[in-house]
């Protein structure tokens, strides 16, 4: 979609399909102060090419345009002042300006919301925890939010915002503590083999054997290789080899020796073979370490700790002191 709009200082070409635009300036009119946001006003000779689009623009500009202009000017001015205060290390003014800026931005957002139609959601309809469970069930090993999201995107409908996963584990822990075993599964932690504390940034499933959730020094690698095999297996299923899935597989293949000749298309069989070959090297030592740690954990930890990890030493002591 291409548009041309006249502005006081020249013309502006819009190419909305490609998301780019060019501004041609007739004369130099640079000022330090923000120029008034302008264009598309009724008298200017704009030549819309798509009627429908132009209607929306017209509505938008007809409605809140003056207040939005004011807001933008305010925001722009505030930002400039903030930069000045930052430059001169004026912390008092800075804090004050930041509050004002946040307010103005909020108003601007609100004004936008009024103007704009709500964005249609293309997210999965399943609750987040179920999506995570789906992905982890594919992988069969503890995984980081990014990987979980990638797996979900590869094999299930819709994208998943990895950032939302950070609170998930805490919610699950709270839920388990208030009513243990009320749910068929919980999303829980992986625990470190040496101190049985939760591993940062990894999610696991409560129904897995403890041994699988204990992370020793070789486990990250072993789990990575296992995950690669599972992903490859999954890609082989009919209809599963979509672009996201192949991309995910390539990511795995790139880091496994012999899994991928760079020039060729990635082959799930080759990935599996290569991953298994490396897995054979590590598997025994890893299993020994995990087993020992799991045995220790089942002796030393209560049920909830087995799922969500022991508190770090220092924290436990502090908690004890408080009591």
């Amino acid at each position: 979609m291409q548009l041309r709009a006249a502005t006081p200082s020249g013309t502006m070409d819009l190419d909305l399909r490609r998301g780019s635009f060019t501004v041609t300036l007739n004369a130099i009119c640079w000022k330090c102060s923000p120029l008034p946001a302008s264009g598309f006003s009724s008298g200017e000779p704009a030549k819309p090419k798509t009627g429908e689009y132009w209607k929306r623009v017209g509505v938008w500009y007809g409605a809140g345009v003056s207040s939005m202009d004011d807001l933008e000017r305010t925001i722009s001015g505030l930002r400039k002042q903030i930069r000045q205060s930052v430059a001169s290390n004026d912390h008092a003014t800075l804090a004050e300006l930041r509050v004002k800026l946040r307010q103005a931005e909020k108003q601007w957002d609100e004004a936008l919301d009024e103007l704009a139609p709500a964005a249609p959601a293309t997210m999965s309809l399943l609750p987040l925890r179920e999506q995570v469970h789906q992905a982890l069930t594919v992988l069969t090993v503890a995984a980081a939010p990014k990987l979980i999201a990638a797996v979900h995107e590869a094999f299930f409908a819709g994208a998943m915002a990895g950032g939302q996963l950070t609170h998930l584990r805490r919610d699950e822990e709270r839920s388990f503590r208030s009513a243990p075993h009320a749910r068929p599964y919980y999303l829980c932690s992986a625990v470190t083999a040496d101190r049985l504390t939760p591993v940062r940034g990894l999610l696991a499933v409560s129904t897995w054997p403890l041994e699988r959730r204990v992370i020793g020094s070789l486990s990250p690698r072993v789990d990575f290789l296992t995950a690669a095999i599972r992903v490859a297996e999954h890609v082989l299923r009919p209809g599963a080899a979509g672009p996201h899935a192949l991309q995910l597989l390539r990511r795995f293949a790139a880091s496994i020796p012999g899994a991928w000749a760079d020039a060729d298309e990635v082959s799930p069989d080759m990935v599996m073979r290569a991953a298994r070959a490396e897995l054979d090297v590590h598997d025994h030592s890893d299993r020994v370490q995990r087993r020992a740690a799991a045995a220790r954990a089942s002796k030393q930890l209560d049920e909830s700790q087995q799922l969500f990890g022991a508190a770090p030493l220092g924290v436990a002591r502090q908690a004890g002191e408080r009591r």
């Binding site: 190419d15 930052v86 936008l112």
Partner: protein, 499 residues
């Protein structure tokens, strides 16, 4: 750096105004240059954010990448930049002049009567073009990763331009800060001279400001946005990041348009002062008298431009990522010879540059006090070797026996020092001259410096630039890794990430 330039800096600091370090300008200044002021997105590798570009001060094109993290949008930007740059460059391929052949059996040569000249604000702009070239010249216009035809073409030109900028005698790609510091010394350090606004503050302070005030103002990123390609981190945080976020989250095209306009204005504010300063620099330098050899060097630039246009028409392979052994050696050979000639030409054109040679005693200026144009010596036969005596006050460090000295007024005449004698702070240098006097035993009038004439002798000379003997690429010896693989277009290059 030399004592002459150091003194100029001292004078500039004292008087609060930039001082000339050249009497003439040694750079060719085009009457229709293309100015490019690029901005990039911090944290990414040469990710274009915006650019102001055009061949008229009053008519810049403002290109903005509204979502600079998206690869497609970057290529759209490149395509637009390519349209502007390529049509500018193409504008110089219409008029051709024919020159006699260099060697007997060759065809007469043709070259374009003019060539492009691109100005960027600073060396960062040169690096921007180099990386832009690297990023785009291997792209393919067909296949899975097809890009617009202009993209790889711009890549080759950007690469060519950036490479020319490595040679000090070339004027096809000019960094404004370097062009200015080549002519003026300021009262600040060369590090601070890297800031175009500060530098211009010393050369042409805005009305009502002293040079020092202007230079101080220039360090305030709000009053003087950086000349790029990197943007001010505070601008990133307070203007750019919110705008990009708004674009990302814009619920409709209408909102997007609005935010884009806001973003464009903000970016234009960041580029406009630099745009103006580059044009101002072009004006200031263009107003200076050019040195005698500028035209000749520009002709060499036109030669190279013509050659490159021909190359693009013939094979047009993208330039290699790094030089092969043979290419590297050839380029070093060229660089050294061109540098030597450039230094000699500058000194011959400009008494201040020659002054640097005189300061070190490698050259001297004086008045001819005695001249014998008919002096002969007998080698295998009697030959004409005119003699002169030059009296100088310069701190001469040349000694008797030093030969192959030249006076810029008679470049084909070699002089050697026979004797030196000193009296009353002045040195009398007896010189024997050879060449430039015809073949007979009488020197034509004017071919030998006359008594009272002012002459300058130095070791500098402008010599014929031989291309040098190098092995062919496929004959690269084992000592240097053997012959390299010949170029073949690779999908991996065309598909290369740009993130």
């Amino acid at each position: 750096m030399s004592t002459l330039t150091a003194l100029a800096r001292v004078q500039a600091a004292h008087h609060g105004a930039a001082q000339q370090i050249c009497t003439v300008r040694h750079l060719h200044v085009h009457d229709r240059p293309l100015v490019l002021v690029p901005l990039t997105l911090a944290g990414e590798t040469n990710a274009p954010l915006a650019a102001m570009v055009g061949d008229r001060h009053g008519n810049p094109q403002v290109l903005v990448v509204p979502r600079p993290r998206l690869r497609e949008q970057r290529f759209v930007f490149v395509e637009r930049l390519a349209n502007i740059v390529l049509s500018y460059v193409d504008g110089f391929t219409d008029d051709v002049e024919t020159l006699p052949a260099k060697r007997k059996d060759d065809e007469p040569r043709q070259r374009f009567t003019d060539a492009p000249q691109v100005w960027v604000p600073n060396p960062g702009g040169v690096e921007y073009l180099r990386l832009m070239g690297r990023m785009t010249r291997f792209r393919q216009t067909t296949g899975d990763y097809a890009v617009a035809a202009g993209v790889p073409q711009l890549g080759k030109w950007a690469t060519w331009l950036a490479e020319q900028a490595e040679y000090p005698d070339s004027s096809v790609l000019v960094a404004a800060t370097q062009a200015l510091t080549g002519f003026w010394a300021t009262g600040q350090s060369s590090l601070e001279d890297g800031n175009l606004a500060a530098l211009m503050g010393w050369i042409a302070p805005p009305a009502g400001m002293t040079a020092e005030q202007a230079a101080a103002t220039a360090e305030d990123p709000i009053l003087c946005p950086p000349a790029g390609p990197a943007t001010d981190p505070q601008f990133d945080r307070l203007v750019l990041a919110p705008a990009l976020r708004d674009l990302e989250e814009a619920p409709s095209d209408a909102v997007r348009v609005r935010v884009q306009e806001r973003l464009t204005l903000a970016l234009r504010e960041q580029m406009q002062p630099t745009w103006d300063r580059v044009w101002q620099a072009i004006g200031l330098l263009g107003a200076q008298q050019p040195g005698g050899s500028v035209e000749q060097r520009w002709a060499a630039d036109r030669d190279r431009f013509s050659d490159f246009v021909a190359y693009l028409r013939d094979t047009g392979h993208p330039q290699a990522k790094r030089d092969s052994a043979v290419l590297g050696a050839r380029k070093l050979h060229d660089m050294e010879r061109r540098l030597a000639n450039f230094e000699a030409q500058r000194a011959f054109d400009d008494p201040l540059v020659m002054g640097e040679q005189r300061m070190t005693g490698e050259a001297f200026t004086g008045i001819v006090t005695w001249s014998d144009p008919l002096r002969t010596v007998t080698l295998s036969r009697r030959v004409l070797r005119p003699g002169i005596v030059v009296e100088t006050e310069d701190p001469l460090r040349l000694v008797a026996g030093d030969a192959d000295l030249r006076d810029p007024q008679r470049p084909n005449q070699k002089a050697s020092i026979l004797r030196l004698s000193e009296s009353a702070g002045k040195i009398s240098v007896s010189l024997e001259l050879q060449g430039g006097t015809g073949s007979g035993l009488t020197a034509p009038p004017g071919s030998v410096p006359a008594v009272g004439e002012r002459v300058t002798y130095s070791r500098l000379q402008v010599s014929y630039m031989s291309p040098g003997q190098f092995p062919a690429r496929d004959q690269t010896p084992w000592t240097h890794g053997g012959p390299p693989q010949p170029y073949a277009p690779a999908t991996s290059d065309a598909a290369e990430d740009w993130s």
